[in-house]
Symmetry: C2
Subunit: 258 residues, 2 copies
């Protein structure tokens, strides 16, 4: 049973308006709502159709990122209030700058260039996933290290997709950890190493899902590996992120170079 249908209307992907709506609604903890994303509302006809759909919903809230006032008009004509990110924020920015905003599509510039850089970064991160191609580690922006299932691959891919960073990842195996030193191929790249760690019981649960009741998934083995990895991180002054209670966005934001 949902109190409100929350529509997120965008003339582009809807990524911005969705994240704004979620953040603002998190401040209203008693509110139950379901989110409906309406992306690419980039013509008056589509805006009219979206407005008609929202007007027909019993209890609706509408967040939007519609830069063109002509696209906002059909919503106002339908008697709907919009929480529009530009409408609410741009006037303050205009005052601060002493400049008037020029409405145009919600594209940030340089997308094509950005796209290729990010695709290259993804390909790089896939090619240097899980210790592959160690000869290319010198080309990486960051090298994530940690034990198996600590979250290296998703984090590397998120950093590549979101920020265009070339992120390798290298597993610390029980064999490596038994040597009581970093694998030699990592030692020439110390400044770019970042350690990932996790609470042993979380790691055990993740491994358990993959290989139930194995030694690999036992809490004792997880603790042993994590302790050895953390000792290596400390000895080499490698910055560490404990991912136990973090989303991939949080992990990536902490790892991203300033």
């Amino acid at each position: 049973m949902n109190d409100y249908s929350v529509f997120c209307v965008s003339d582009h992907t809807g990524v911005t308006v969705e994240s704004v709506a979620k953040s603002v609604l998190a401040q209203f903890p008693r509110l139950e709502c379901s989110l409906i994303i309406l992306p690419f509302v980039d013509s008056v006809e589509k805006a009219q159709a979206a407005a008609a759909r929202i007007a027909a919903a019993p209890r609706a809230l509408t967040f939007s990122t519609l830069t063109d006032p002509a696209l906002r008009a059909p919503f106002h004509q339908a008697g709907l209030s919009l929480f529009d990110v530009f409408d609410l924020i741009a006037p303050s920015v205009e005052r601060a700058l002493g400049q008037t905003a020029t409405p145009r599509g919600g594209h940030t510039h340089g997308m094509a260039h950005d796209y290729e850089a990010r695709m290259d970064a993804v390909n790089f991160s896939l090619n240097l996933d899980d210790g592959l191609n160690p000869g290319r580690l010198g080309q990486a922006d960051l090298i994530l290290v940690g034990v198996s299932r600590v979250g290296k691959t998703p984090t590397a891919l998120y950093l590549a997709l979101q920020y265009g960073l070339r992120v390798a990842n290298y597993p610390l195996t029980p064999d490596d950890l038994g040597q009581d030193d970093l694998p030699s191929c990592l030692k020439s790249h110390l400044a770019r190493l970042r350690g990932l760690t996790l609470a042993p019981e979380r790691l055990a649960a993740l491994r358990q899902a993959r290989y139930p009741d194995s030694r690999y998934a036992s809490p004792a083995q997880c603790r042993l590996e994590l302790d050895a990895a953390e000792a290596l991180f400390e000895r080499h002054a490698i910055p560490v992120v404990d991912t136990t209670r973090m989303s991939v966005e949080e992990i990536a934001a902490r790892l991203r170079p300033a």
Copy 2:
């Protein structure tokens, strides 16, 4: 030479405030600026340090997502104006709801559950990358098909990371295209297939970067493969996205089920 230093201050990852700042600033095309992200400003001490840093910058603008008024106070005390997403949007929402916002950290709820679903989706997408494990195609939310280098892998990974969707991808090789029919393993999953295509000259450029001056990268070969793939998409009524001028966010937003 940058006109303005634009600071994006967040008590969390900064993903929301960065995308808002970029979208709003895109409406001021004459403005030159450099973006500085200050994430995890989640204590009064960190807010004071951030405010001091911004106050020392010659021409600064500050966007923020700081839910707690106590974290905004140091900026005001330093004489800075904030374009704060909550501050500017929450009052309108409060009026519409007849409820007062309860400031708390910018976390959207259910993160832990969400995290695991997305990590599972990433692992699934990696395990079913590029035609691997076709026996598991029945478990996919979506199956991306298209010729080599059309952007299937990054798109699948973005959908998995951003939306938690289990997205397989399957290459249409020249051999497949020579059969003039879909590979048989795809035919039992027609409703979940999505085609990707691209302008031949863009594809040729992407392939050229990988295998310079190969037949694979020649414009004629690219055109041949794309034409054959598009004919298959049309014959089987597979929805198609032309990715030529799109960012990975745009492609993903178009593919995401409503």
